[in-house]
């Protein structure tokens, strides 16, 4: 995801006397400035031409303030019941769990085919290309597309979410597999060990921490996606209630309550992820 930048040696020049003017701007610097300038220009153009539908911005922001205070200061269950909302929240979490587990299992086997140090180059490259294509299409569109075939509801949501999870995890997993040193794989090959035993006995144990951490990240994404799917494709989860409360009943007290519930889940997930990481660190030291 992120490349770490190298410390720039060009910033502090040696103070040796130099006759000419010292240029502090290197080529990467120039490109960086160009990119930032370009983005800024696009932004200015975009803001200037933003379709504001004749909005009175002052009024709009004022109403936003009123709504926010209704949401966060006076949350309530609205026309639904606690039981209904909590059930829907559990459904969302289940949806995220289900699609993450299913996605992780499928993704691992595909990732073995997509890892350059295990598979022939043509196979790895073509799998990666297909996965990049699937990833490029937003999750919600996958869910909608599958809802035509399977009907709106849980099955389409699960399949759509899993589809995107698989594409995401194949990339993450295969990159983790590619990081296992070629030498250790070769050592086992040299003693006549076959392909799958090497995968399960040598590679898997080496990359378990990386797999866990990627899977957990994907779980968090899937939870957010599950909520989105409920809102946009009508799976019976908390997103659906959020959508109905927000754009149908205009009940911002209920929107507030649901947001609090979602924040609660997010905090719990954060805590679990910290625990997991702590547990792993203890094991390595």
């Amino acid at each position: 995801m992120m490349e770490n930048s190298q410390p720039k040696p060009n910033i502090i020049q040696p103070s040796a006397p130099q006759p000419k003017r010292v240029s502090l701007v290197t080529r990467p610097r120039k490109i960086l400035r160009g990119v930032l300038l370009g983005l800024l220009l696009i932004t200015i153009y975009s803001l200037a031409t933003l379709n504001n539908a004749n909005l009175n911005l002052a009024e709009a922001f004022h109403s936003l303030g009123v709504n926010l205070s209704a949401m966060f200061l006076h949350p309530s269950v609205g026309q639904d019941s606690w039981q209904l909302l909590l059930r829907a929240l559990v459904t969302s979490v289940s949806l995220a769990l289900l699609t993450t587990l299913l996605g992780a299992l499928i993704a691992f086997f595909i990732a073995v085919g997509a890892a350059r140090n295990l598979s022939p180059a043509w196979l790895a490259t073509s799998i990666k290309a297909v996965m990049a294509f699937i990833r490029a299409i937003p999750t919600i569109l996958w869910v909608l597309i599958y809802s035509v075939v399977m009907g709106l509801g849980a099955s389409a949501a699960v399949v759509g979410l899993t589809f995107h999870s698989v594409a995401y995890l194949v990339k993450a997993y295969s990159e983790s597999i590619e990081e296992t040193p070629q030498d250790t794989i070769e050592a086992l090959k040299a003693s006549g060990v076959g392909f799958w035993p090497i995968v399960f006995q040598a590679i898997l144990p080496s990359i378990v921490p990386a797999l866990l951490s990627w899977t957990f990240i994907r779980f968090e994404i899937n939870f957010a996606n599950a909520v989105a799917v409920g809102a946009a494709a009508g799976a019976d989860d908390i997103g659906y209630f959020l959508f109905m409360a927000g754009s149908f009943y205009f009940n911002f007290h209920e929107v507030g309550l649901i947001v609090y519930l979602l924040l609660g889940v997010a905090i719990i997930l954060e805590l679990i992820s910290m625990k997991l990481r702590g547990h792993y660190l203890k094991q390595t030291n």
């Binding site: 410390p7 031409t49 459904t91 949806l95 490029a136 299409i137 959020l242 649901i258």
Partner: protein, 267 residues
């Protein structure tokens, strides 16, 4: 970890027991979730091939879809603009917040905690909730999508920038302080140039991400390319909807490749 066992057999028994427990827990979670969501694994998996065939059959753009191309491209362009501008505007705010919130540069501890908490709050409110909250006040305008993405991005980038600043070598900052630079000189000459390329890298990543989320926000708020997809989709014009999916995929991939190139060039 225990490092002494009576026999290797005992060691493997314990290891197998642990593995087995984990497996049982995972299976338990899977089947419980399956029941709660009311999802039939086999039933659905067997439908996937048929679904894909249907997809290729109906979602292939036809000559008829070409007539919608102009409109689609225009909305795609608007969506791209909204993703870029929301990210860039958010990054400017995030930069200020990150400097206030990073351990190494914060003016005081209270400010740091407020920034941290605020960023975490913004990040954890799902984009759907933002869309719902904003839709009422800002109606069906690009502005709704812009703000929804803006708030999300603000949360993410503030955290990312804060961590970037904290990862910088503290000694370099001390060296500048030792030379007698004041706070602003330290920040502008010591920190920003060092962190610029990492931060730009994050900005590019968020633009990619926002383009995907913009589709969702558009779907919910009735704007941009997401709305157009929904429109064609609901009126059974699958060929045009397919064209949109294809174009989004192409745009995302082009964006990914471009930002990879840029990252490499500025690293």
């Amino acid at each position: 970890m225990k490092t002494n066992y009576h026999s290797p057999q005992q060691f493997f028994r314990q290891r197998r027991l642990r593995l087995f427990t984990v497996l049982v827990i995972l299976l338990g979670i899977y089947f419980t979730s399956m029941a709660l969501v009311n999802f039939q694994t086999w039933n659905s998996i067997t439908k996937i091939p048929a679904g894909l065939i249907w997809l290729f059959h109906n979602f292939i753009p036809t000559e008829r879809s070409i007539s919608s191309l102009g409109q689609i491209l225009y909305q795609l362009w608007r969506t791209l603009l909204v993703s870029i501008s929301s990210t860039v505007v958010a990054s400017l705010f995030s930069l200020v917040f990150a400097i206030l919130g990073a351990k190494t540069t914060t003016p005081n501890e209270a400010v740091r905690l407020i920034v941290r908490f605020g960023a975490s709050l913004l990040r954890n409110i799902p984009v759907v909730a933002w869309a719902m909250i904003l839709l009422f006040s800002f109606k069906q305008s690009d502005f709704t999508g812009f703000l929804a993405l803006f708030f999300m991005t603000l949360g993410y980038l503030t955290r990312a920038f804060t961590e970037t600043i904290e990862d910088l070598d503290a000694e370099k900052l001390q060296a500048l302080q030792a030379v007698g630079a004041n706070y602003f000189q330290c920040v502008f000459c010591g920190i920003l140039p060092e962190a610029a390329s990492t931060m730009t890298s994050w900005v590019l990543y968020m633009i990619e991400n926002n383009l995907r989320d913009a589709t969702l926000v558009g779907l919910l708020t009735g704007t941009g390319v997401g709305f157009l997809f929904d429109f064609y989709f609901k009126s059974f014009r699958y060929d045009a909807a397919g064209l949109i999916v294809l174009l989004i995929a192409v745009l995302v991939i082009v964006l990914e490749l471009t930002s990879t190139q840029i990252r490499r060039a500025i690293a």
